[in-house]
C-alpha cells in the first residue's frame, strides 16, 4: 500500500498489530491501550514502534514515551471529529514530537491542508486513487493568518 509522506508518494513499511494478535517482526504500531498496558515488553521489540490513537485518547499520557515512538497514527473515526487536530498540535507544538504523524481512517482529502499545518506529515488514503488529490490539496493556500507547525 502507498501513502504520502512529506509530500511524496512512498510505500508503507509499517504494520498495525491488532490487540488480539501476536507481535510481528519489523516496524509495528499498536493501539494506545496496548501501549499503555505493555509498554515494557513492547520496548524490547526489534524494530520501530508506533502508537495508534483515536479521538478519545489523550496524548498527554504518552508525552514521556514519545522518544521511543517513531510513528503516531491519528485514526479518524469521523472527519467531522476535530479532536485529533488538537492532539496533533499538542504532539508537535507542546511535546516537540519529531517522528512521523500519520492521518488514517475517516478524514477527507479536503482536510489535509489543515492537518499538515497542525503537524501531520503523512497521509494514508482510503483509496489509492486519492493520492494525487491529497498532494494537490496540500497546496490549497499559499498564505495563512496563524502560525503553523509545517
Amino acid at each position: 500500500m502507498q501513502l504520502i509522506k512529506d509530500q511524496k508518494i512512498i510505500d508503507n513499511t509499517w504494520q498495525y498489530i491488532a490487540d488480539t494478535d501476536e507481535l510481528k517482526a519489523g516496524d509495528i504500531s499498536v493501539s494506545y491501550a496496548r501501549w499503555q498496558n505493555d509498554k515494557q515488553s513492547l520496548s524490547a521489540h526489534d524494530g520501530k514502534l508506533g502508537v495508534r490513537i483515536s479521538s478519545e485518547d489523550n496524548v498527554e499520557a504518552i508525552a514521556d514515551d514519545l522518544e521511543r515512538l517513531q510513528l503516531i497514527e491519528l485514526d479518524f473515526p469521523d472527519f467531522a471529529d476535530g479532536r485529533l487536530f488538537s492532539q496533533a498540535w499538542l504532539l508537535r507544538g507542546r511535546y516537540d514530537y519529531q517522528g512521523e504523524i500519520r492521518a488514517i481512517g475517516q478524514y477527507i482529502p479536503d482536510q489535509v491542508f489543515y492537518l499538515a499545518r497542525v503537524g501531520v506529515n503523512a497521509f494514508c488514503p482510503e483509496l489509492p486513487e486519492e493520492l494525487p488529490g491529497i498532494i494537490n490539496n496540500l497546496k490549497d493556500f499559499s498564505v495563512k493568518y496563524q502560525s503553523s507547525i509545517n
Partner: protein, 550 residues
C-alpha cells in the same frame, strides 16, 4: 475601515478556487453528499426549502459602498433582486443556483468580501457594536480587535471541526449593544484600576434551544494575551466539548456541565503554557488601530442652523431624528439608522435598487461606509447634522425611513417557514400582521422602547429568548403555534424571557401581542419602559389578560 493586504486578497481568491473545485467534484459525483455538505457549510452555503442559501460575511457589520453595490449586483444577477440582513451582521441570498455560487464568491472576492465560516461547526463571523468608533459611551473602539480576531479565526487549521459553531462578539462601550453575554465568547473592553484598557472575557453564553447567560471567566485580560487566551478556550472546547449530541455540543453546555470553576481551571492551565510565546505585539495592535482612524470630520459641522430649523418646522423629520438617529462623539454629527422594517416588507430585506441607492447616500454623506446592526437595520454612522434633512428625504423615497428604530415594529425576524428548512412555523407573515395591527405611529412611539423578536423554530435565529416580547414558532401536530415570552434582554441587564403560558394559535398571536401592549399602557408607571414594567410586576398581569381573551 480595514483594507485587504495582498495576503488577505490571496487568501480569499484561493478559497474561491478551492470551493470551485469542491463544487465541481460534487456536481460530477466525485464528492459525497456528506463530505460536500461540511465543505459548503464552511463557505456559507445551506440547502434550504426552495434553493441553496448563501450567507455572506459582514465582518463586524462593516461594509463600504463598493461592497454594497456588489450585493446589489449579486441580488440582480444571481438572485431575485433582494437580499436579507441577519442578526449576526451577515447578508443572505435566498435564491442562488449552486453551480453559480463559486462565481458569486469570485465577484465578492473582487471587493474584499467572502462567505468563509459563516456556517458550519467552526468559528463564525465576529460581531460587534454597530456604533463602534462613533458612540459617546465608548471606552475604546473594538473594531481593530474584531479584525485581529477575524484574521485569527479565518481558516484556523486546528479549530475548523469543532463540536459545534462558535461565535465571538466584542463590545468597546459601557452599553452592551453586541449581546456579548449571549455568545460563546463575549469580550468587553474595560479599564483596570490603573486605567489600562484590556478585556473582560465572558464565556458560555448562547441562545438557541438552551438560552444561557454567559459567565465572566477572566475579569481582566491584557490586550497582548487576546489570541493566546482565545486559543486556550478553543483548544479546551475542541478537546472536551460534547460530540455525542448536537444539541449539547455548544461550549455553554460544557461550561454548565463541568462548572465554570473546572472549565476555567482547564483553560488557565492551557493558557499559562501558551501565553508567553503568543503575545500580540504593541506594533501589531497599533498598526491595526491605524486602519480604523477617524474620518476627516468637519470641525464646523455644529455651526449649522438648518438642522434645528427643519426639526421645528417639519414634525415628520423631527420624529425620524428622534427615533432613527443616535448621538455621535463628534459635535455636529449623528449616526442615522436606515430602517429595514417598513410595514410592508419582510424585516431585514433590501432590494437591489435600495442597496445601490444606500451606497450612493453613504458616498454622499457618510464617508462611503455602511454598517449592519444585529437588529437587522443599517446605519450611516457619520452624518453631518446639516445633511440629515436631505438624507431623510432620500430615505423616505426609498421607503427606508420608517421612524421605528427600537420600537414595537422594529422586530427581529428570521426567514421562517417561508424559506428555512429547519423552521416549524412562519414568522414573516406574523410580523406583517403585527405591523398591520400597530399601524398608528403615535401609538408605537407612546409604547416606546420595545424589542419584539420572533423565530420560526427553537434554533432561535431571531433571538426570541432575549426579546422583551419573544415569539417562538412551534409545530403542534402539523399546525403552527406560537410560544410567547416576556422580559428577555440581550443588553447589560441580560435576561432570558419568561414563558407567558401555553402556546397560542397562529391567528391569536397578533391579538396576544396587542393585549400585552394594552396591559402595559394601562398599568405602566410614569416613564416606565415595557421591560422595566415586566421586571416590576412579573408576567401575571399580562398572562391574565392574554389567556382571559381566549
Amino acid at each position: 475601515m480595514y483594507q485587504y493586504t495582498n495576503t488577505d486578497q490571496t487568501l480569499v481568491d484561493e478559497r474561491v478556487a478551492q470551493f470551485r473545485r469542491q463544487t465541481e467534484q460534487y456536481l460530477k459525483g466525485e464528492l459525497s453528499e456528506d463530505h460536500y455538505r461540511a465543505l459548503r457549510l464552511r463557505n456559507g452555503v445551506y440547502i434550504q426549502t426552495h434553493a441553496p442559501l448563501l450567507r455572506v460575511a459582514g465582518p463586524y457589520g462593516l461594509l463600504n459602498s463598493k461592497q454594497v453595490r456588489m450585493l446589489a449586483h449579486i441580488a440582480r444577477t444571481y438572485d431575485k433582486n433582494y437580499c436579507h440582513f441577519t442578526t449576526r451582521q451577515n447578508i443572505q441570498f435566498n435564491w442562488p443556483k449552486l453551480e453559480q455560487i463559486p462565481d458569486i464568491l469570485a465577484e465578492l472576492a473582487s471587493v474584499q468580501m467572502h462567505s468563509i465560516q459563516t456556517s458550519g461547526n467552526c468559528m463564525r463571523n465576529t460581531t460587534s457594536d454597530h456604533l463602534a468608533g462613533v458612540c459617546v459611551d465608548e471606552i475604546e473602539d473594538p473594531r481593530p480587535y474584531c479584525e485581529i480576531i477575524r484574521q485569527w479565526t479565518t481558516l484556523h487549521p486546528e479549530f475548523d471541526y469543532l463540536p459545534r459553531k462558535f461565535k465571538i462578539a466584542v463590545s468597546g462601550a459601557l452599553h452592551d449593544r453586541a449581546a456579548t453575554q449571549f455568545h460563546d465568547v463575549g469580550l468587553h473592553l474595560v479599564k483596570n484600576a490603573e486605567g489600562v484598557v484590556g478585556f473582560k472575557v465572558i464565556v458560555g453564553g448562547g441562545l438557541g434551544r438552551t438560552p444561557i447567560i454567559g459567565q465572566v471567566i477572566k475579569p481582566y485580560l491584557e490586550k497582548k494575551h487576546l489570541l493566546s487566551y482565545l486559543e486556550a478556550v478553543l483548544r479546551i472546547y475542541n478537546l472536551y466539548g460534547r460530540r455525542d449530541n448536537k444539541y449539547k455540543a455548544r461550549i455553554k453546555i460544557l461550561v454548565k456541565e463541568s462548572s465554570l470553576a473546572k472549565f476555567s481551571a482547564l483553560v488557565e492551565k492551557e493558557w499559562l503554557l501558551l501565553k508567553d510565546n503568543n503575545e500580540l505585539s504593541a506594533e501589531r495592535i497599533e498598526a491595526m488601530c491605524a486602519q480604523f482612524i477617524m474620518p476627516a470630520y468637519d470641525g464646523r459641522a455644529a455651526e449649522d442652523q438648518s438642522f434645528a430649523e427643519h426639526q421645528s418646522t417639519n414634525q415628520a423629520f423631527a420624529t425620524w431624528v428622534k427615533h432613527n438617529t443616535a448621538d455621535h462623539k463628534v459635535s455636529g454629527y449623528r449616526a442615522a439608522f436606515v430602517s429595514l422594517k417598513a410595514p410592508d416588507s419582510p424585516p431585514g430585506d433590501m432590494t437591489d435598487e435600495q442597496l445601490d441607492a444606500v451606497a450612493d447616500l453613504a458616498d454622499a454623506y457618510s464617508f462611503g461606509e455602511i454598517r449592519a446592526t444585529h437588529r437587522q437595520n443599517l446605519i450611516l454612522a457619520d452624518i453631518k447634522q446639516a445633511d440629515l434633512y436631505p438624507l431623510w428625504q432620500k430615505l423616505l423615497e426609498l421607503k427606508l425611513a420608517t421612524p421605528n428604530i427600537g420600537t414595537a415594529t422594529d422586530m427581529i425576524c428570521c426567514p421562517g417557514l417561508d424559506f428555512c428548512s429547519l423552521a416549524n412555523a412562519g414568522s414573516i407573515g406574523i410580523a406583517k400582521e403585527i405591523n398591520e395591527a400597530l399601524d398608528d405611529m403615535d401609538y408605537i412611539h407612546d409604547i416606546g422602547d420595545l424589542k419584539i423578536n420572533m423565530s420560526g423554530c427553537m434554533n432561535g435565529c431571531a433571538h426570541q429568548s432575549v426579546g422583551h416580547i419573544g415569539i417562538l414558532g412551534v409545530d403542534k401536530k402539523g399546525s403552527e403555534w406560537y410560544q410567547l415570552t416576556l422580559g428577555g434582554s440581550s443588553e447589560n441587564n441580560a435576561a432570558i424571557g419568561e414563558r407567558l403560558g401555553p402556546a397560542v394559535a397562529k391567528d391569536q398571536v397578533t391579538k396576544a401581542v396587542v393585549t400585552i401592549l394594552d396591559v402595559y399602557i394601562k398599568q405602566r408607571q410614569e416613564e416606565e419602559s415595557f421591560l422595566d414594567m415586566v421586571n416590576r410586576v412579573g408576567i401575571t398581569p399580562f398572562k391574565e389578560q392574554v389567556y382571559a381573551t381566549h
